[in-house]
Amino acid sequence: MTGIYLAGAILIVILIFANRNKIINNVLLILFGLLQSVFTIYQCSNYKGTDLGYFTSDSLGILFLITLTVVSLPALFHSYLYINRHDESPQSRSVYFAAIVLLITSISAAYLANHIAVVWIFTELTTLSASALIYHHRNKLALEGTWKYVFICAISITFVFIGILFLSLSLSGTGSSDLSYANLMAKSDQLNPFWLRLAFLFIFTGFTAKLGLVPMYTAGVDAKDKAPAPAGALLSSALMNMGFIGIFRFYTVIAQTPLHHWANIVIFVSAILSIFVATVYMTKVVNIKRMFAYSSIEHMGLVMLGIAAGGIGYYAAVLHLILHALVKSSLFFQFNQLYRVFQSKSVAYVGNYFKYNPTGAIVLLIAFISATAMPPSGLFVSEFLIFRALFEGQYIFVLLLVLLLLTIIIWAFAKNIFKILFTPVVGFDDSNVPQINPWESLTQYALLLAAVWLGLNPPEIFVELIRESVILLQI
C-alpha cells in the first residue's frame, strides 16, 4: 500500500504540475485527499506491518500520520480558498498545489520510515517542496526567505548526512552495515561511543532546522512568515513533528547506551536556549505570523525538555506535539481571515477584530488560550505533565527558569492578541472590510475542539498508542 500511495501521490504531483486546467487540478486535489485518508486508515489497520522493507507503521508513525491527515485536509481546503481568492495565474496555482501535495507525501513517508537514510531522503524532499511554497509570492522578500530557508536547510541536511556517516563508522565495529533503527537498537550495546557521540551531535543539529530549535531555528521562522498561511500551518505543525521524529528515533537508540545522560544534557541546553530565544523575540515581535512561529519554537523547546527529563515526560512530549499541531495549524488558518480584514501582518495596524469578524475572533481567542496552555486547553495537561517530569527528575532550577520565561511569553502573546481582538486601530478605514463567511472557521473550531478533547478526555486507544511509542525508553 505504501508503494501505491507513493506512486499515486507522485503521479498526482506530476499531473497537477503539468496541467493548467483549474477543474482538473481541483479533482486531482480531492483525489489526493482521498488517497491520503485511505492510506492513513490502511496504516492504522496494518499496525506494526512493514511495507517495501523501509516503511513500518509503528505507533509513533501512526499517531503523527493521523495528525498530519487531520491537519492536511483543512490545509488543502484553505489553500483552495486562498488560491481562488487571490486570482492566481494557472502556473503559480499548479506549482503551489504540486508543492503542497509533495510536502504532505514526503512528510507522511518520513513518519513511517524505519531506516535513518530513508528519513533523510524524505527530509530533502520536504526542503524542496517547502521552498516552492515559500517562494509562492515571487517577490523580493519571498525570495530572501526562500534563499535563507534553502541554504540553512541544505547545510542542516549535510549535517544529518555527516551524522549518518559517523553512525555507520560507529556501527562498523559490530560487523553489520544495516542502518535501520531496529538493527541499531539490536546492536546498541556494541556501538562505538566516540562516533555515536559525534553522530548524535550532527544529526541533532541537522534536524533542529525542521524541528525549530536552537541552533538552526532561524530558517523556519522566515519560512512560516513568507509561505501562504495554509502552507505555513503545515510547516509549523506536521513538518516540525517530522523533525522530532528524526531526532526521537535516534534518541531512542542512544537511550539504550551509556551516552543517554550526555544526550539529555545536549537536549537540555538546546531546549532551554530555544525557549529563551523564543521569549526574547516574542516580547519584541510585531509581525503576527512570526509571533506564531516563535510560539512554535517555545513549544518545541518544551517538548524536548520533556524528552530530556524522562519519566512521564516522554508521554507528555508526544501528546504535546500532537495537540500543538492541531492548535497551531488552526491559528495559521485563522490568520488568513485576519489578513483579509486588515490587509496587514503587523500588530500595529490590526485591532478590534471582534467588530469585523466575531466568529474568527473567537477562534483566535480560544487558540490563544490553547497555545499558552491555559486550562481548559489540552496543552495544559501535556505541559503540566512536562513540568511534573522536570520536578520528579530533580531539575528544579530548570523548571523555575522555564516557568519564568513562559510567564514572559504569555504576557507578550496576550498583549498582542488582546490588541488584535479589542483595541481599535487609529485611522483604520473599515469601509472596504470584506464580509467573512463564518463557515470558513468551522475547520478551526474542529481542530481546537479536538485538541481540548484529546487533552482532557483522551480515548483509551490514543493513550495506549502514545504509551506504545515511548515504551522503548522506559528502561
Binding site: I121, E124, L143, E144, K148, A154, F161, I164, D225
Partner: protein, 210 residues
C-alpha cells in the same frame, strides 16, 4: 597516492583562504573535483563496477566540470565583481584555517579506532569547518554557495572512507550533491541574480520581526 591527493586537497583549502578573486575559488572547486575523482578511483576498490562508474562520472562531470562552468557563467551573467570581499583580512583567514586543520589533526589523533582511515577523517572535518568559516567570513552570496560546495566535497571525502562497506552512503552523498546544486545553484542563484542586482548578503536583511 591517496594520501598525496588528500594532502593536496587540504592545501587547496589554505589556498582558498587567501584567494582574492572569485574566479580562483571556481578553479579550486574544479581542482577539488579532479582530486576527488582520483581518490574515488583508488579508494573504492571493492564496490561493483557499475556503481563505481556512476560515482566517478558524478565526480568528474558534476563536481569538476559542470558546477564550475555554471558558476563561471553565473558570475559573468550577473556581473559579479571579481573581488571575494572577505570581512576578515587574508592573513588572519590563513591563520584561522591553519588552526582548524591543526585542531582536527589533534582530534583525530585522540581517536582510537582501527576501522578508520585517519586522513579521511582529518580532511573531511577540516573541510567542513573551513567551509563553514568561509560562509561566515565572506560577503557575497556566491562565495557562500562556494563555501557550501566545499563543505559538500568534504562530506564526500568522509563518505569515501566508509564507501567500501556501505556504497549506499556514497550514493546518498551524490544525491545530496545533485539536489543541493540543482536547488541552490540552478533555481535560486539564477533568480537572486535577476531580482537583486548586486548580490551581497547585506541586501538579504529585510525580513524582520516588524
Amino acid at each position: 597516492m591517496i594520501d598525496v591527493l588528500l594532502i593536496v586537497f587540504i592545501i587547496t583549502l589554505l589556498y582558498v583562504s587567501i584567494a582574492n578573486r572569485i574566479i580562483t575559488y571556481v578553479k579550486v572547486l574544479a581542482l577539488q573535483g579532479f582530486i576527488l575523482f582520483g581518490v574515488t578511483y583508488m579508494q573504492l576498490q571493492e564496490i561493483n563496477t557499475l556503481n563505481l562508474v556512476l560515482i566517478l562520472l558524478e565526480t568528474i562531470v558534476f563536481k569538476a566540470i559542470a558546477v564550475p562552468l555554471f558558476l563561471d557563467h553565473l558570475i559573468k551573467r550577473n556581473n559579479i565583481t571579481r573581488e571575494a570581499e572577505p570581512y576578515i583580512p587574508n592573513f588572519l583567514s590563513l591563520v584561522i584555517t591553519t588552526i582548524i586543520i591543526v585542531v582536527t589533526i589533534l582530534l583525530a589523533n585522540s581517536v582510537k579506532d582501527e576501522n578508520l582511515d585517519k586522513i579521511f577523517f582529518i580532511v573531511a572535518l577540516s573541510t567542513l569547518f573551513t567551509g563553514l568559516y568561509f560562509i561566515a567570513s565572506r560577503k557575497k552570496i556566491i562565495t557562500h554557495v562556494m563555501g557550501y560546495l566545499i563543505i559538500e566535497n568534504g562530506v564526500f571525502v568522509l563518505s569515501l572512507a566508509v564507501g567500501n562497506e556501505m556504497p549506499m552512503l556514497v550514493n546518498l552523498g551524490i544525491m545530496l550533491d545533485i539536489f543541493a546544486s540543482v536547488l541552490i545553484l540552478g533555481i535560486f542563484l539564477n533568480k537572486i541574480g535577476d531580482v537583486f542586482k548586486d548580490v551581497d548578503v547585506d541586501q538579504l536583511s529585510n525580513l524582520k520581526d516588524y
